[in-house]
């Protein structure tokens, strides 16, 4: 996880396009300028970034389902629950599943867990649009390779 670059996911561990599921992992960094403000002397991962973890994981599922021909843009967060604080150095398991792939939109559910239990959950909805330019698609493909998305897709 590189908070300053908004890279919330470290690796995609499994993706199943038929079942419409994905599982990823991320490790919260021990040091980050984010923690200097959130909060001084009591560093915890901002809840909004936990939501972003779920959105990026679910977004990668939609990218796979749309065969990297369309870009999912976060449109709606539904019934988000942030159950406990997440401290620097925590390993996160993030999973998401498809609820409905509509025309120009997608509905997913996602959750975050640690080895001690559930941390967060939310319904995440996306607008699904053609890539605004080829460079953005290339960036998403490169990002997918960095996350190891190729390997789970072959499995």
């Amino acid at each position: 996880m590189r908070l300053e670059y908004f890279q919330m996911v470290d690796q995609v561990e499994a993706v199943d396009p038929v079942a419409g599921t994905i599982r990823a992992r991320a490790e919260v960094p021990r040091e980050s300028s984010v923690f200097e403000g959130h909060f001084p002397g009591y560093p915890i991962l901002p809840g909004v970034l936990l939501v972003e973890c779920m959105a990026q994981t679910a977004g990668h599922l939609i990218l796979v389902l749309e065969k990297f021909q369309r870009m999912p843009f976060l449109a709606q967060i539904e019934s988000a629950k942030l159950r406990r604080f997440v401290e620097p150095g925590t390993a996160l398991s993030i999973s998401a599943s498809l609820v409905h792939l509509g025309s120009g939109y997608a509905v997913t559910k996602a959750e975050v867990e640690t080895e001690t239990g559930a941390v967060a959950e939310a319904g995440i909805r996306f607008r699904s649009l053609p890539f605004p330019n080829p460079a953005m698609r290339d960036l998403m493909l490169e990002n997918a390779r960095r996350l190891g998305l190729d390997a789970p897709m072959r499995a």
Binding site: H100, G102, S103, G104, Y105, V107, R125, R127
Partner: protein, 93 residues
Amino acid sequence: MQDTFNAVADIIAETCNIDRATIQPTSHTINDLGIDSLDFLDVTFAIDKRFAIKMPIEKWMQDINEGKGSVDDYFILSNLCARIDELRAAKPA
């Protein structure tokens, strides 16, 4: 058709917090009811779920942009409901 309209009107009233009595078959979803794109996404999802269909909104928008149809053809409720009925009828048994 009437059943479809009633179901769609109920969905719009609940999803968009619009007085059900103001929703008529002649209502335009955008011009009359003021449904914005995010609420329309919710309405579309609810209709897809309710009738187990996938409304081809993007195809409709493409048709409008290419002059193959007008906005009214798709987004006046009576016309929208007719298209929903077509999609329902086209579903495999």
